[in-house]
Amino acid sequence: MYNGNKLSPVLKGVLVAGFLFLYLPIVSLIVYSFNASKLVTVWGGFSTRWYVSLFHNEQILSAVGLSIRIALASATAAVVLGTVAGFVLARFKRFRGSTLFAGMMTAPMVMPEVITGLSMLLLFISMQQLFGQPSERGFFTIWVGHTTLCMAYVAVVVRSRLIEIDKTLEDAAMDLGARPLKIFFVITLPLISQAIASGFLLSITLSLDDLVTTAFLSGPGSTTLPQVIFSKVRLGLNPEINALATITVLIVGIMVVAANYLMLNAQRNREKAIAAAMRENENAQAGPPSSAVSSASA
């Protein structure tokens, strides 16, 4: 914040306009989800009927279930593979092809999803012709596609955290008798756990709202939530979708607030503990200065 430098009315106006542009559609979506009228643009009084009908819509419910299962499965796989890749990128000395490896790791992030999706589709089709597996496109193929995408993000997050961590911690653990694999699980993993957690959450959101890759990799009977929404909206605006979107916003909102609260709380406790330790040290140093030496020799 600028001290004594108030925002001019023009800047304020720009700011408000920007926020309205971003959030007005979402607000109107939430408001219209409680609309009694079937027409999306006409207000017909308050009602929760779309929520009731949403929970009776088998198609949407199964899509939600599939999306959540795929998101959890891809996030899990992405965290395992991405952590290993991030560790190699951050900790291994330069090896033959390390630049190529780093480039290929991050390629899914920058590659147009249409290309990734199409090439995977072609791969799965030729695999089916050659080995008969995977026999159809569905959960498995979408899972592979999402994992590929999410893994890149996890690798980047984990790598940057690992670079921050003092490598001598791992040296010290080895010096004290721990073998490399043990060091990874007992020292490195706890220290990067926050990065892994945020990689996991990031993967879930990426997988939940991915439409393009999914469109290439899904088959009959495996329709994810974004696909359902997209196809429904193409047939005309539907108040049920508004209700679904409102629930999604609510859940995401609660998760973000909870995560922030937990992090702030942890930070506050930490600061309190540091402050307490500092006070004690000051008290200790105010005592006789020679106490430590004399008691050590005693």
């Binding site: 080895m174 010096d175 004290l176 706890p190 503990a273 330790a277 500092m278 020799s297």
Partner: protein
């Protein structure tokens, strides 16, 4: 060879005859690409010794320490500890522990868990681990803080925890990498003594690496001077200071006046060196093992240089005339910088009581004075 080493040698061999070396480093050589980091170092360490590797940054001392810890593999050479060849042993299999400069305390573990970490790797029984951790906490007086996390401790406390952790496994050899480098100066001097006390109480064999000569002189029983990957001189703090064997050591340890000259008279009982910078000679009352005409360097410590107003009895020998260009008053003594006609500046450390006792005023800037020294004090070096 020169006199200085000849004088120092009997002391060393005398002690070593009783103690076979506990740690033997022979012909250790390490190359990083085309850079030689450690150049054929031979070093014997006795049991219960606190040995300091002293040198400026990049001299190879840290690389040598990391090779002892197993973190780096030597290009060639052998390391034998207590009869066991450990050259190619992995760090986690060596009976050696290290205290890191940054302490490297595990941030997600309490003080207690940090100290227990090494013991757990050895799969000791639980009761044994607990009693050893308690013993270590008492040793460094950190029992009160057993459940604290490292970030809740001050720098000095972290240092003590790091020490306790590296001693917990009762290593045969303890490595200390700049043990007090992360502390501020005031705390460092107090901690030096505390650390030596603890190490002596435990009786562990120690090798420490430092760039601080005061720290090395205070803490170590013997010092090894390193420069550009080579171990130049090994000796007790006294030997290193009084009998430097090369120019680097003479200038690195304490202050000195270095004079370049040529041997003009080489007799068994005395030597004369022509020094152009003095426009005179240095006369030394003992022989050196160097031929006539050889180029040598002479080191004279500032505290050995006497300052007078009157010309000395033997002008041109072990003395010179000059003018005072700089005076640093340091309380109990002053350091005078005297410029000779050749432009060479000789430093002389004069006790403040000197003038008072002589009933004179202390010399002041631009005054003409004479510097001189006793014939037994200069140290002659051939490299």
């Amino acid at each position: 060879m020169m006199e200085a080493v000849a004088a120092a040698a009997p002391v060393q061999t005398g002690v070593q005859a009783h103690n076979t070396p506990y740690l033997q480093i022979s012909g250790i050589f390490k190359k990083f690409g085309d850079n030689v980091a450690v150049d054929h170092v031979d070093l014997d360490i006795r049991q219960h010794e606190i040995f300091a590797l002293l040198g400026s940054s990049g001299c190879g001392k840290s690389t040598l320490l990391r090779m002892l810890a197993g973190m780096e593999r030597p290009t060639s050479g052998r390391i034998v500890l207590d009869g066991q060849d450990i050259t190619h042993l992995a760090p986690y299999d060596r009976p050696i522990n290290m205290m890191f400069q940054s302490y490297a305390l595990f941030p997600h573990m309490s003080v207690e868990q940090n100290i227990a970490f090494g013991l757990k790797q050895d799969k000791l029984p639980k009761g044994e681990i607990e009693s050893r951790v308690a013993e270590m906490l008492d040793l460094v007086q950190m029992r009160k803080y057993a459940h604290r996390k490292p970030y809740q401790l001050s720098g000095g406390q972290q240092q003590r925890v790091a020490l306790a952790r590296s001693l917990a496994k009762r290593p045969k050899l303890l490595l200390l990498d700049e043990p007090l480098g992360a502390l501020d100066k005031k705390l460092r001097q107090q901690t030096q003594l505390e650390l030596v006390n603890t190490l002596e109480k435990v009786g562990v064999t120690c090798i420490m690496v430092t760039h601080d000569q005061e720290e090395a002189m205070t803490m170590a029983t013997r010092i090894g001077i390193m420069s550009e990957g080579q171990l130049l001189q090994v000796g007790t703090p006294g030997e290193i200071y009084d009998y430097p064997n090369c120019r680097f050591t003479a200038e690195f340890i304490g202050e000195t006046n270095l004079l370049t000259g040529m041997v003009s008279v080489d007799e068994p009982d005395h030597v004369e060196i022509d020094v152009p910078e003095l426009e005179g000679r240095i006369w030394i009352d003992h022989g050196i093992t160097g031929p006539k005409g050889m180029q040598v360097w002479t080191s004279i410590r500032p505290e050995d240089v006497r300052l007078d107003r009157k010309p000395p009895a033997t002008p041109g020998v072990n003395s010179a005339r000059g003018t005072v260009v700089e005076i640093a008053y340091l309380g109990s003594y002053s350091v005078y910088h005297v410029r000779l006609p050749s432009g060479k500046v000789i430093k002389s450390m004069v006790p403040s009581s000197r003038w008072y006792e002589a009933g004179e005023e202390a010399p002041t800037w631009d005054e003409t004075v004479y510097v001189s020294w006793r014939p037994d004090l200069p140290v002659v070096m051939t490299r």
